[in-house]
Amino acid sequence: MMESKSFPGNVDSLDSLREYVGERAQQAGLAKKPTYALKLAVDEIATNIILYGYQEAGLEADFTVLSEITEQALIVILEDIAAPFDPLARELPDSGDLTKSLEDREIGGLGIYLTINGVDEFSYEYLNGKNRNKFVMKIAST
């Protein structure tokens, strides 16, 4: 059964968003490390939605977390009504960027890099006027 919860589109929501994702991860029986990785991934994408999708565009709106626990996985979908934005379309830092010293670093792209690296599956679609960022964490079989 899909569960749905909405949050106001500002950075004050991030704390309660992570707490909620943590609760769902616990219900799904995820271990500590994948739970942290999922919280981090959801936090990163939600931050982009809030800062760029909403605030930069002068849009005041909620975003919604849809989640479902199946036998195989915990599925989390972030839905927002900002302009279409595909996080996978931007260029990710490559190995050359990641070995640069701090003073030569460009600030950006790390959040999406951590997202994609942290979850088992990440996908994006724009559907019915909404951005849908989908995260899948597989549940280890016992």
Binding site: D12, K32, Y36, D43, S101, L102, R105, G111, L114
Partner: protein, 106 residues
């Protein structure tokens, strides 16, 4: 957990103790602390992270900002970071630009 930060700024060393969760909201507080010390002749920035339980890329950006703002000679020490935060530093290659230690002075 709410984010908290304490700063002790000496002649050459600035020591910041971070508690709670560092996300794009709390990173603003962290960055403000860095801005306060940016024009001082600091040689080492010591970040005590034992009680920091979460750090997003917003926190990483403040680390990058620190080095760029204070200068390339700045040594950044991260004291006792939790394992999952070390993972983030490692994945993003930032562990090469900071020194992870169990205590400071080392």
């Amino acid at each position: 957990m709410a984010f908290q930060i304490e700063s002790v700024v000496g002649e050459q060393v600035a020591r910041l103790t971070l508690h709670g969760e560092l996300d794009s909201l709390s990173a603003r507080v962290f960055q403000t602390e860095i801005e306060k010390i940016a024009n001082q002749p600091i040689e080492a920035l010591v970040l005590d992270m034992e009680d920091l339980s979460f750090m997003s890329s917003a926190g990483l950006r403040v680390l990058i900002y620190s080095k760029q703002k204070i200068g390339p000679k700045l040594a950044i020490y991260i004291v006792k970071p939790q394992e999952l935060i070390v993972d983030t530093l490692t994945k993003t290659g930032l562990q090469h630009s900071v020194t992870i230690v169990d205590q400071y002075p080392v």
